[in-house]
């Protein structure tokens, strides 16, 4: 890994040509006088509150600094984000640099590699909260090195979760190997006394992802990360929109961690506020934002990644981002202790989720080489995700919302589910007005499920009601 870790910078990167040695970066982080992301997460969990974090990234350096400062000034998020642009994610550094030079506002994120680690440090020093890099890179090694050199203590992604939703033609073996390298450096850093928080992107393709798919893939990535030496793992889960299901899924995370991970690893549950099609009307979007935050609280999440009322339209402006953070933070109110989920139903749902995850992951973990087993399982459909961006997942499984809105499996594809699970899912879908996988109605049913919230808020009519 040392070879990769100090890869010479790519052409055009103003500051990345020679990255400092790891130990220097560890010292630098110590000198910053701010907590690591891992520490912030631990403190939040101890205090029983949900740490709040925005999504945010713009192309220009000064613009990025101004954005973070304003977010911090106006909304005091616990952790800040550098969202990386789509070119950099796919190692299209040349395109990133061209946009940066010509029209930085055309970039949908901050091209950290192009800016280089000195600018990364400059950003780090201009805010008091620790930073996380949020991206979507099948191969994030260069980006990771620049991030560490920038003194950034949290890094999102994983060999499955940052491949399948984010690229078309990167074989899983490649992305798993690249992320193994990242995780190995995290292990080295832990040896040097610096714990990097590694968030796994359980959100996947974000749209109608069944909880057991999200959690199963996170379990596999977490096992790999822990083996490589990672000591702090955040398992993110995308809000489905169904209260009991979401609370159960979040609470399943510590249960799964106890089952599948060694004890020395600190695991946090993270909720990603609804990642699918957002309602357009501001009030409706805000209802959903608050609801998500409340779900995070009820599910015992350590952290919440927020959305904004502009979600349906495009990358939000700063003001909207501030408003989203503030609104979400209201769910941390001490006045809301009386708000409870239905504990019995949560326990029941949790048991089913844990069983489904076991069905999915245990055959893979039983194989001698986990990385190979993962790639093979995806090729065979024994692991799968809906709406894959990549050729390397089959997207055979068909999700469907039940009558109450929870996400179930209309078809379990080639997932290695037992009869019990299969029956449970089809029982649950009985009330959902599903006529089975007939092609036309399947599409309208799917579209309705995708547009669940705009429909719930009556911004749209159900297609199948026409």
């Amino acid at each position: 890994m040392t070879k990769i870790s100090y890869l010479p910078g790519h052409s055009g990167s103003p500051g990345a040509d020679t990255l400092p040695p790891l130990a220097e970066s560890v010292d630098y982080i110590g000198s910053l006088g701010k907590p690591t992301a891992a520490r912030v997460l631990m403190d939040a969990r101890d205090a029983g509150r949900v740490a709040i974090q925005p999504r945010c990234g713009v192309g220009g350096h000064e613009e990025m600094k101004a954005l973070l400062r304003e977010l911090e000034d106006q909304a005091q998020p616990d952790i800040l984000t550098l969202t990386i642009d789509s070119h950099t994610r796919l190692k299209r550094f040349e395109q990133a640099l061209r946009s940066l030079n010509r029209a930085p506002a055309d970039l949908n994120g901050y091209p950290l590699v192009s800016h280089g680690y000195l600018r990364g440090r400059d950003i780090n020093e201009s805010v008091t909260a620790p930073l996380e890099i949020r991206h979507g890179s099948p191969d994030a090694r260069i980006l990771f090195d620049v991030a560490v050199a920038s003194g950034i203590t949290s890094f999102e992604g994983g060999g499955i979760s940052y491949n399948l939703p984010y690229s078309k033609a990167v074989p899983l073996a490649e992305s798993l190997a690249a992320w193994h390298d990242v995780d190995t450096v995290c292990g080295e850093l832990a040896g040097l006394g610096l714990i990097i928080d590694r968030e796994l992107f359980g959100t996947l393709t974000a749209v109608l992802v069944p909880p057991s798919i999200s959690l199963a893939i996170s379990v596999l990535e977490a096992v790999l990360a822990a083996r490589a030496g990672v000591r702090c793992i955040s398992v993110s889960y995308p809000q489905s929109g169904h209260l009991v299901q979401d609370v159960a899924a979040l609470r399943a995370i510590p249960v799964l961690a106890r089952t599948y991970l060694p004890p020395g690893v600190d695991v946090h549950a993270v909720l990603h506020e609804f990642m699918g099609v957002f309602p357009k009307k501001r009030g409706n979007a805000e209802d959903l934002i608050f609801y998500g935050a409340l779900v995070a609280r009820l599910g015992g999440a350590s952290k919440l990644i927020t959305k904004t009322y502009q979600e349906a339209f495009g990358i939000p402006d700063t003001r909207a981002n501030v408003d989203g953070l503030r609104l979400a933070d209201r769910a941390n109110s001490p006045l809301l202790d009386f708000v409870k989920a239905d504990e019995e139903r949560v326990a029941d749902e949790l048991a089913w989720i844990v069983d489904e995850v076991a069905d999915i992951v245990e055959p893979v973990l039983a194989a001698p080489d986990t990385m190979t087993a993962i790639a093979d399982a995806f090729a065979a459909g024994r692991l799968d995700i809906p709406f894959s961006a990549s050729r390397y997942a089959k997207s055979e499984i068909i999700p469907k919302r039940d009558a109450e809105g929870a996400i179930r499996y209309l078809s379990t594809g080639s997932l290695p589910f037992g009869d019990r699970t299969r029956r449970h899912n089809s029982d649950l879908l009985k009330g959902a007005g599903s006529t089975g996988p007939v092609i036309g109605s399947l599409l309208t049913g799917l579209t309705d499920d995708i547009n669940y919230f705009p429909t719930l808020f009556r911004e749209m009519k159900r297609e199948d009601s026409e």
């Binding site: 642009d85 506002a105 949908n108 495009g314 990358i315 961006a389």
Partner: protein, 148 residues
């Protein structure tokens, strides 16, 4: 459209863009309408679209989705492909066509400048648009720019 005639379109998502959902649904829907859909999927550079055109000279249109705001940079090579005669059929673009939540109509003009023929908002507009483009073509036997 009568079920006897064969109509083919080339579909895909722009080079830096991995948003797959609308692409899946549009492919399904067009197939449901009887089209043959050569779906190149997400993260498709102009070069790949051009190759598909060469393989399928009968294609009625290249339909490109872009959600992540990067469409201009992602279609940067389109004028060259056009000039080289590698993409001759109409190019239709749809999705979220700039970065940010307030949209500037000039960003659509910039797309036309790159050689995009038609910009659509709603996938439901695809069928009438394809029909119109085809009748224009049969009438003129040449590609006409169509305003959005």
């Amino acid at each position: 459209m009568s079920h006897s005639e064969r109509r083919l379109v080339i579909l895909g998502v722009a080079a830096s863009d991995s948003h797959a959902v609308a692409n899946h649904l549009i492919a399904h829907a067009l197939r449901g309408l009887g089209f043959e859909v050569e779906n190149l999927g997400t993260c498709t550079p102009v070069e790949e679209f051009a190759q598909a055109c060469e393989q399928h000279p009968e294609a009625e249109a290249v339909i490109i989705g872009s959600l992540n705001g990067h469409v201009h940079e992602d279609l940067r090579d389109l004028p060259a492909a056009r000039e080289a005669g590698r993409i001759t059929c109409p190019v239709i673009v749809g999705g979220n066509l700039s970065v940010g939540s307030r949209k500037d109509p000039r960003d659509l003009e910039r797309l036309h400048d790159l050689g995009v023929d038609l910009i659509l908002e709603d996938p439901a507009q695809l069928l009438p648009a394809l029909d119109e483009l085809r009748s224009d073509r049969t009438a003129d036997r040449q590609r006409l720019p169509v305003a959005s």
